[in-house]
Symmetry: C2
Subunit: 410 residues, 2 copies
């Protein structure tokens, strides 16, 4: 198999909403397709990926550095010994000539390609991605030390027949909503949370200001008035809590919230540790750390508590599966369970990773009319869970509005 | 004054050399020009910037996000009350809609624009950049808490006449050379160091493997044979020292070296602290940390010693002067002197910042035939120091080979 072309486009996904830190009106995301010289079942064999959101599309970096490196590599350098595309080997090619440190946009560009390579590999193997991931890298807790994805394939193949009869895995998900908009009516926030409950979600996250305790108390009350228990309502401060803000702490402690998200700036581990000292409930953070080295610093210095707190690093914004897997293993060595990993928005791709590695939950943008919202068409959320379908690969082909975007690529 | 266009080009600057971590054969850098509707002394008023090196050109990010944001801003949002371009206000515009954390490529794109904006501002004010910087932001140790660059301008203007008669400042510099090449002859390394001494440098840095103690001992011996004292030879490990490598430590302790650079991975502060525990001589690091938050973590957790160690954050790869100034102030609050800041390669621009803020030294790629090498034409290095000339702005116009590259921009 040979990669013959990689096409990408930057798509506008902006909407008139804000969190406590930024506005999303100009937000973009990348869609990417890897084309090959093969067909499978009469269809062209392609690998697809769609960006995680919040950090803008990756077009420039993809075109300038990463796509050319992959296209310049000898095809055999990208495959395992069975002729399947090997994402781990591909990422090694992508990172040639890259200095250490500085994990910002680069991890997202590499992670997007990694996601498309995994879709491609799973389709080659005729497996849903979650199953391909397990068989390629081992379950969590088993040895997965090999530098190449391929080394556990023989074992995997021996399991394939049995595994193919495995029921689709059921994973937990939660709805992220309640951004700031130009509509100041508290009823709007309640309606948005109620809509999430109607869609089948049981845990819902809303945005707070992190600065205005009175406003934040009102927002929590509005959300709770939709009818979910406080233990199923999470609040996101987007890094805005200020050291010593006792009023803010009191609002956060008034209800037994599901978790408080990103109370302090992403890299200020001392501020996070101070918050954790001051707030006894669950804390979740990590979506703005994009490497195993950054995640390790969070665990070393951030004062988080493995028995109750949650780690939200984003898979595709963090170089992809290999680096994310390294985070899981590093965390496990420091006393954390994979159940503590609640992956940041990565949508259909992330849902497979949650299923493959037994992570705690998956973040969903609940509105299926958005390119990055909801799940595969016809796959409902029931009691805050869903079954990951058995389509080969990620199954982008089974979310019509997103597939329409892919169909516009060359 | 109005910005009418911003043009940039990605230039190949590759050469057949390597450090212990990456090869530079495919390396690129960005050249950028900001064009205005003004002339000054009959010449078009422009702001110029040339990339720092090692992290590739910034073209995609500049075109996709940052140039459009600056061009879309109201011209008055970019100026101070005297009609001078205000880099601090411009950077605030550039960062609209950018999430916190993830300091990788973005800081370099913003920093490149910041550098060109400072060149433009200094030319508007008819000052060499070092003087413009001092007058716009205050000397280190004076209050510089204002969000806008302009707030100290009135004071600055009162000083301008006196300051204009100030002799050009003299700054320290050192030569960075001794990369790995395909020439295994130890004589080649000695010749390279000798060439630096002949050019007038007195402190020279060479690359080591960080992994092969025998090779590294040979390289140190080769460099010393060029005739410089060990206290003026620095060695760069590019993050490759391995915990527990006693042979490597012994080689580094055999001579009283000027400093050991980046012994451990950029973000592994625990490994750095362990190295500092094991090596009593000066250590220098920081070139792969691109924000005040990352730099703060280095100072909090890295085990560095303010009285002897050196901080090498790169100005233009770290969002530019405003963020770098914040690093200086944060470090000062933690017991560090500006003299401990030895700015990573930023060439002509960085030399002005070293002069403006009284930093310890400036890193030079010594070969003036390179776009990023040497200094202004006709400005010699004497006894490891040079006088920053009085040309308005950075003075790119006085380095002919680099100016030829700018002249190819639209």
């Amino acid at each position: 198999m040979k990669i013959v072309a990689i096409h990408e486009a930057t798509l506008p996904i902006g909407s008139a909403m804000r969190n406590a830190s930024i506005a999303f009106d100009q937000m973009t995301a990348s869609a990417l397709v890897i084309r090959t010289d093969q067909t499978i079942g009469g269809e062209a064999l392609v690998g697809l990926a769609f960006d995680s959101i919040g950090r803008y599309g990756k077009g420039g970096l993809l075109r300038e550095r990463f796509i050319p490196r992959l296209m310049a590599a000898a095809p055999s350098d990208l495959l395992d010994e069975h002729g399947h595309i090997d994402p781990a080997r591909c990422v090694a090619v992508l990172m040639r000539g890259e200095k250490q440190g500085g994990h910002g946009e680069r991890p997202g560009a590499v992670g997007l390609l990694d996601a498309a390579l995994w879709d491609l590999r799973a389709k080659q193997m005729g497996l849903p991605l979650w199953q391909c991931l397990r068989e390629s890298t081992g379950h969590m807790g088993t040895s997965a030390t090999a530098p190449s994805t391929a080394t556990t394939i023989e074992t995997a193949r021996a399991h394939t027949t049995a595994a193919a009869t495995t029921a689709p895995p059921r994973i937990a998900t939660y709805a992220s909503c309640g951004h700031f908009t130009d509509n100041p009516n508290p009823q709007a926030l309640r309606d948005e949370v109620a809509q999430c409950l109607a869609w089948g979600y049981t845990t819902v996250k809303i945005k707070l200001s992190g600065r205005d305790a009175k406003l934040d108390a009102q927002r929590i009350a509005s959300a709770l008035s939709a009818g979910l228990p406080a233990s199923h309502l999470a609040v996101d401060l987007n890094g805005q809590w200020q050291a010593g803000d006792a009023d803010g702490l009191a609002v956060l402690a008034e209800h037994p919230l599901a978790w408080v998200e990103e109370p302090t700036p992403a890299l200020d581990y001392a501020a996070l540790a101070a918050f954790c000292q001051s707030h006894s409930g669950p804390v979740a953070t990590g979506e703005n750390l994009f490497s195993v080295d950054d995640a390790t610093n969070l665990l070393r210095y951030g004062g988080l508590r493995p028995q109750q707190d949650r780690l939200q690093m984003d898979i595709s914004l963090s170089y992809g599966v290999g680096e994310y897997r390294a985070m899981l293993e590093r965390a496990q060595a420091m006393g954390w369970s994979p159940q503590a990993f609640w992956a940041h928005a990565g949508h259909l791709f992330a849902a497979h990773v949650v299923a493959a590695f037994g992570l705690g939950s998956h973040e969903s943008a609940p509105d299926p009319s958005r390119l990055y919202g909801g799940f595969w068409d016809g796959v409902p959320v029931v009691d805050g869970h869903l079954h990951v379908p058995a389509h080969p690969g990620v199954g982008f082909e089974h979310k019509a509005n997103l597939m329409a975007a892919f169909d516009q690529l060359p």
